[in-house]
């Protein structure tokens, strides 16, 4: 089991959801986040003073999948999120030791899907 964490552009969320659906990945969790990477920030100016904003708005997607789905999930995310511009984001893959469905108490691979 793996926990896949992806940072994507906010406006790509809908298309990421779409392409994950096509890969039969239906479950995910989403948080909003600020990210700082290669992408240049922008300047805000307020009452005459400048401020550089380099924490840009991003969406953090978390998907827990069984190992056989890892590739599909990663591909799905890339398909949906890639625009080719700097700032498209990253995917991190973590090992997951266990997974439990709260409602039923199911454990492991059963619980993931």
């Amino acid at each position: 089991m793996k926990l896949i964490v992806a940072y994507i552009q906010p406006d790509q969320l809908t298309s990421v959801k779409q392409s994950l659906y096509e890969k039969k990945v239906f479950k995910m969790s989403v948080t909003n986040a600020l990210g700082c990477g290669q992408q240049k920030g922008y300047h805000e100016s307020y009452r005459g003073s400048d401020i550089e904003v380099n924490l840009l708005k991003k969406i953090r997607v978390e998907v827990a999948v069984n190992d056989e789905y890892v590739k599909a999930t990663i591909d799905g995310i890339i398909d949906g999120a890639r625009t080719g511009k700097i700032g498209d984001g990253k995917i991190f893959v973590l090992d997951m030791v266990d997974c439990i469905r709260i409602r039923t108490g199911e454990e492991g691979c059963e619980a993931v899907g």
Partner: protein
């Protein structure tokens, strides 16, 4: 009273240009036609109405912000406070002289009495008008002027370039609105024809509405609104702001219609306030019913639009209808507005705040309704009311407004461009046009 013999008036022109102009007027000094007391109370009422119309601009701002996304809020507020100012200043420079050229300069279709404003002593007495002084007249009319541009602001929100919009607004409010206004209120050919538009269902609201229509077509829909042939609603970010807007607009309408009596005549003004309020209430209820039926659950934004629909609808005939007539006009307007919002969306005309549905559709409806429900004797009019005249008025204003709006917008598009880049639209005009945020610190999802 203090006597001032000559007034010089300077006026700050569009955006940067300072246009200095001196107006010297010679209104003939009649003996006052009403007592000083009556003149004073009339004038007090008209000043009260003036500040009520002023606060409508806050109403428009709040409504427009409420029904759009948080990332464009600074831009919307900026547009709105600018429009009030542009409206006041251009009206000083040319608008008032275009709209009320006076007999000396009048024409059926066009008249102009020179740049700037100013009056002699007679302008401050009831010789000018039993209902108000020259200055009250000017200010009340100036507050109306900005309204037409504000209506367009809502329709083109979230994608129009700031500078382009400001230039367009300035032109529209300086030229198109006053000329149309003159046709009816300035004593032009529509007035001669017997066209009746009490407080501006056509002269103000549909002028704004036609401009909005052209703007919407020329700009195209917001990114993400129509995707793969499906309508994806773009939700407004603050219903409290939208509601504040509508309540303030309703509040302001006490002055918009109440002041259009042009005096404090107790019977007439109070009747107008009753018809105005009843139409608004009826608009709320009928929009509620329709929205509940059509959308399954009643939609607040529709009901808010319903109140405005009723108000716009009754504006043309508030002085010539019965209470029952006002309720009927308002109720029909409330139905129309819900169907129109849904209909325009089907036509892929993307109107974030429903400006077309409220100001154009109900403005036209209200004007025509005068020909159906209006009784000339209620308003003490000299001429009869006729559906045909109303239709001619609606049509001719439509043509002129469409021509003006198209012309101005094309010119602006050529020179400055109309629409912000897609990237700016996604990130929000607040950052793109102003480099600032409206809700600093708040976490806002910007997936839309």
């Amino acid at each position: 009273m203090i006597v001032r013999n000559r007034f010089k008036s300077f006026a700050l022109g569009l955006v940067i240009l300072l246009v200095f102009s001196v107006g010297a007027y010679a209104v003939e000094v009649d003996a006052g036609t009403v007592s000083d007391e009556m003149f004073t109370v009339n004038n007090v009422w008209m000043m009260v109405c003036t500040f009520l119309v002023f606060i409508m601009h806050l109403g428009f701002s709040a409504l427009e912000c409420g029904l759009t996304r948080a990332k464009n809020t600074v831009n919307i507020l900026f547009k709105n406070i600018s429009i009030v100012s542009i409206g006041l200043l251009t009206y000083t420079v040319v608008g008032f002289s275009l709209m009320y050229p006076g007999e000396a300069f009048a024409g059926g279709f066009f008249g102009f009495s020179g740049f700037g404003v100013g009056t002699d002593a007679a302008g401050l007495t009831s010789a000018y008008n039993p209902g108000y002084t020259y200055w009250t007249d000017f200010l009340f009319q100036a507050m109306f002027a900005a309204t037409a541009a504000t209506i367009i602001s809502g329709a083109v929100a979230e994608r129009v370039k700031l500078g382009s919009f400001l230039v367009f607004s300035a032109l529209y409010v300086a030229i198109c609105y006053p000329i149309v206004g003159m046709w009816n209120w300035g004593g032009g050919w529509l007035a001669e024809l017997g066209f009746h538009d009490f407080a501006g269902s056509t002269i103000v609201h549909s002028v704004g509405g036609w401009g909005a229509l052209v703007g919407i077509i020329m700009l195209g829909p917001r990114n993400g609104k129509y995707v793969n042939g499906k309508i994806r609603p773009i939700m407004g970010h603050s219903m409290p702001l939208a509601a504040i807007g509508v309540f303030l607009l309703w509040f302001g309408w006490f002055g918009f219609n109440g002041g259009s009596v042009l005096s404090a005549d107790p019977g007439m003004v109070s009747m107008v306030l009753v018809t105005t309020n009843m139409a608004a209430a009826a608009g709320v209820m009928s929009a509620m019913v329709v929205s509940w039926i059509v959308q399954k659950k009643p939609d607040l934004s529709m009901v808010l639009n319903g109140a405005l629909a009723g108000l716009v609808g009754v504006t043309a005939g508030a002085d010539v209808v019965t209470v029952g007539g006002a309720i009927t006009i308002g109720a029909i307007a409330g139905i129309l507005v819900v169907l129109a919002v849904i209909g325009f969306d089907r036509l892929r005309l993307d109107d974030p705040v429903g400006a077309l549905s409220v100001h154009l559709v109900c403005g036209v409806w209200g004007t025509l309704a005068v020909g159906i429900f209006g009784h000339a004797e209620i308003g003490g009019l000299d001429n009869e009311l006729s559906f045909v005249s109303q239709l001619i008025g609606v049509g001719s204003v439509a043509v002129f407004s469409l021509v003006c709006a198209t012309g101005f917008l094309f010119a602006v598009k050529l020179v400055m461009g109309l629409r912000v880049s897609k990237q700016e639209e996604i990130r929000g005009l607040d950052i793109g046009e102003h480099g600032m945020e409206s809700y600093s610190g708040f976490q806002i999802f910007t997936t839309q």
